[in-house]
Amino acid sequence: MVDPAVLAKRARDIVGSDHIQTGAAAAAFAVDGIAPGVLASPGSEEDVSRLLAAAEELEAAVAPWGGGTKMGLGAPPRRLDLVLSLARLNRVVDHEPADLTATFQAGMPLAAVQAHLKPKAQFLALDPPFGARATIGGILAANASGPSRLGYGTARDLVIAVRVVHADGTVTKGGAKVVKNVTGYDMNKLYIGSLGTLGILTEATFRLYPLPVAEETSLCAFPTLEAAGTAVAEILGSSLVPRAVELLSAGAAEMVAAPAGLPWAGGQVGLAVMIVSVPEAVRAQLNDVAKFCRGAGSTADHVMTGAAHTACWEAIREFPGPSAPRSLVLKGSVPLTRVPELMSRGVGLAGQRHLPCQAVAEAGSGIVRLYADALPAPPERTADYVETVRGVAAELGGHLVVLEAPLAVKRRVDVWGPVGKALRLMQGLKTQFDPKGILNPGRFVGGI
């Protein structure tokens, strides 16, 4: 551990005393119970660079902090001296509406990004959870995404350039502010999803999309996940172009239907399909969706527009909502056809362990999120659940990551799961980019 007084002095010289916190104020930024001695809020990329150079010299462990919405992601840090808040780096760097590109600083909240783009009828096609507070840098570091990834992909598809401050303070860029570029290695991919372990993102340039002219949603009820899964396969295999296809376990479907003002028969699972296009094509596609659903045995079909449509997707994106307990969140990823099975087994195995659990799946992308209330259960039981579901995901041809869990559970499981022989290369990258291991040490795969 680095002497907080020494670190605080160095940081104060760089960002000024107004932008430094120590003691209890810094401790509020603890990561998995490990409190930093110092919190620094740089006001510029140059500040970030100088802070990191100082940290590396002192061998102080650094955790970058955006909106703080994903600090539960990753293993508990091995050590932590300095939290580097990107909150002040929150500006629009440039926006070329006619090029459909824009550059934002890393600390800018996604909600502010969308508010900036809306007057030009454009948007950034990312809809991760915690949309109100999540920042650009945090979303990229975690490679967070939401239901609309089916239509637009994830950050790895939308980011065209980044600026990064490396562990020694060096600043580099990756990519270019054009939508097509193969000059040199695709460095953007390296940083996206690296959880701040290779460098700290200071800005990112995105390709944007025009806001859709019309969007509507069909929410269908099914007696079983298998039946709903049949409808999903039909829809995905057709020439329909849904922007999002979500499967909801029975309890989840009820929780999504309520804010949308829809009646929901108990025990019915849900299938939500969002169509985005010109109005005539939205209607034609929703008719086809309804046909596929009826053919697969749906028991109810609700078409939503306007406020109900918005409320439905907000409920899915922010599931299970601020008031419900969400102490354990798992993200499984499997081939598309195995989604219903991972959902039902994930919920079933939780039930056997008396963990109340709901499943929400991006069925068009093979992503299954399991939300369980694990706080009342002993951590051993929850850890056993995680390992068992991970085994199921592997059996189905995929993998599983713990997005959020009580600390006692995180200490008992590998939150990331195995990465195979590729770990050697990943460790090599870490050594090259952060030889002293100051960036988020211990939080990433294989102890990186």
């Binding site: 097509k180 005539e280 990258l429």
Partner: protein, 493 residues
């Protein structure tokens, strides 16, 4: 390599791949001395043609032990000299590894060997009403492994993205012979995105032997229309207007008057030779959507003084509209002895500006420049026409090429949108990236390829201090079109 050592190496490689899998004779090696950019040449000392991933692994292990450079090669259609054995050594041709290993339609995935030809996958799954989206112009010849190495584009990238957006998993033989797998059928594998980092690494990180791809259901409808314009400004403004209207067509392709004239002297695709530009727009998706978007696109064309709009009524007419565009590059041979093709990118809004600047530079240098480009994503392919027999003209062409590239970067662009850096543009890298930017890239290479034995001499500038703009000698430009290109049946970009 001395003769004895070469013979020993050849024998050891034959033990791995069989008698017919090793090429040692110079006349046969000549086939492998260049790629689609025929002016850079380097003769490999041996060529190995493995049939399995295990054979690739064994061959690479052997070369690593012997400290022999290795260069992977697909179909050799690349346009940046990326598959050249610049330091001699062993070239590993993946063409015999051309199998589709698995088609998994319900999961929207296919697993193919690296040497599989791009279009074969689409042909194979057409009956299921699926296709593989990235469609580089050379798709009837180029291999998936080469597409992965170069992060190949195509004409439909505006809507569907490039190779990296469709590759989900890779099986790789690292330069030391170790086999690793990244990703797979399931999305978001934990850890660094090594699949994403590998795509576009131009064969410098290892040899990919198998690739897991995303396949897509075919769109319900496709509509192609062509606008004929008096000036290239009107056509460019139409592109901006379409994008501003919130429409993202599957592609937006443009040709200028010189390209049109060349095409009509060659294959006669029915383009009006007095036009300033033609703009090709293709829409695809649900029928109702495509039908609804046609009228606004026609209206935007009319608002920008279009002279004539042609809409393809059927597939035959659609292919006719495309024919001229596809033949454009090869047609340059009709109007000029030599042609220097470039691949630069600018932000879409800078299109009119860069075209004006290219026209001014063209007059200044006394050389004609034809323009054919992917207008939707700002990917230019200026073609500088010159006579290589005239030494002074050759030098002017080179200098002009460098000027254009420099201006593209000054306008916020990139030196290559889809062809790659390879041998051709390695010394231009410092125009775009700082030494620190390049150093970060070298660190990644250091992890994958610490000994530098895998595809040496590519991507990175040969000398840190030397930025050659428009330099490179006579061998950097020449190009001879294939007969299929002249006929408008195949194209290079």
């Amino acid at each position: 390599m001395e003769r004895q050592r070469k013979a020993r190496l050849a024998a050891a490689l034959r033990a791995i791949v069989g008698q017919d899998g090793v090429i040692t004779e110079e006349d046969e090696l000549r086939v492998y001395e260049c790629d689609g950019l025929t002016i850079f040449k380097a003769l490999p000392e041996l060529v190995v043609l493995p049939r399995t991933a295990e054979q690739v692994e064994a061959a690479v292990r052997l070369c690593y032990r012997e400290r022999v450079p290795v260069v992977p090669r697909g179909a050799g259609t690349g346009l940046s000299g990326g598959a050249l054995a610049l330091e001699g050594g062993v070239l590993i041709g993946l063409n015999r590894m051309s199998h589709i290993l698995e088609v998994d339609v319900p999961n929207h995935r296919a697993v193919v060997q690296a040497g599989m030809v791009n279009v074969w996958l689409t042909n194979k799954i057409a009956g299921d009403n699926f296709y593989y989206a990235p469609d580089p112009a050379s798709q009837t010849a180029c291999t998936i492994g080469g597409n992965v190495a170069e992060n190949a584009g195509g004409v439909h990238t505006l809507k569907y993205g490039v190779t990296t957006n469709h590759v989900l998993g890779l099986e790789i033989v690292l330069p030391d012979g170790e086999v690793v797998e990244f990703g797979g059928k399931a999305l978001d594998p934990p850890g660094y995105d090594l699949t994403g980092v590998f795509v576009g690494s131009e064969g410098t990180f290892g040899i990919c032997t198998a690739v897991t791809l995303r396949i897509l259901p075919k769109p319900e409808a496709v509509k192609t229309l062509m606008g004929v314009f008096e000036t290239i400004d009107d056509a460019s403004n139409t592109v901006s207007a379409i994008v501003a209207a919130g429409i993202i067509p599957a592609c937006l392709e443009m040709m200028d008057s010189l390209s049109i004239q060349a095409v009509e002297q060659g294959i006669r695709a029915g383009l009006p030779t007095d036009a300033g530009a033609v703009l090709l727009v293709e829409l695809d998706g649900p029928r109702a959507e495509v039908e609804a978007l046609l009228p606004p696109i026609s209206r935007l064309m009319r608002q920008n003084k279009v002279r004539e709009i042609r809409i393809a009524k059927d597939e035959a007419e659609r292919l006719l509209l495309w024919k001229g565009r596809k033949a454009a590059f090869a047609a340059m041979g009709q109007i000029s002895p030599d042609c220097y093709l470039q691949d630069a990118v600018i932000p879409r809004t800078r299109l009119p500006q860069i075209l004006h600047e290219i026209a001014v530079l063209s007059r200044e240098y006394g050389l004609r420049v034809a323009n054919v480009f992917h207008a939707g994503d700002g990917n230019l392919h200026p073609m500088i026409l010159y006579d290589g027999r005239n030494e002074a003209e050759l030098h002017r062409a080179e200098e002009l090429g460098g000027k254009i590239m420099q201006r593209c970067i000054e306008l916020g662009g990139s030196i290559t949108g889809e062809h790659g850096v390879g041998r051709e543009k390695r010394d231009y890298m410092p125009l775009m990236y700082t030494e620190a930017d390049l150093e970060a890239m070298r660190k990644v290479r250091q992890v994958f390829n610490p000994d530098g034995l895998m595809n040496p001499g590519k991507i990175f500038p040969t000398s840190k201090s030397c930025v050659e703009v428009g330099a490179g000698g006579r061998d950097r430009i020449g190009y001879r079109p294939h007969r299929l290109e002249v006929m408008g049946l195949a194209q290079r970009f």
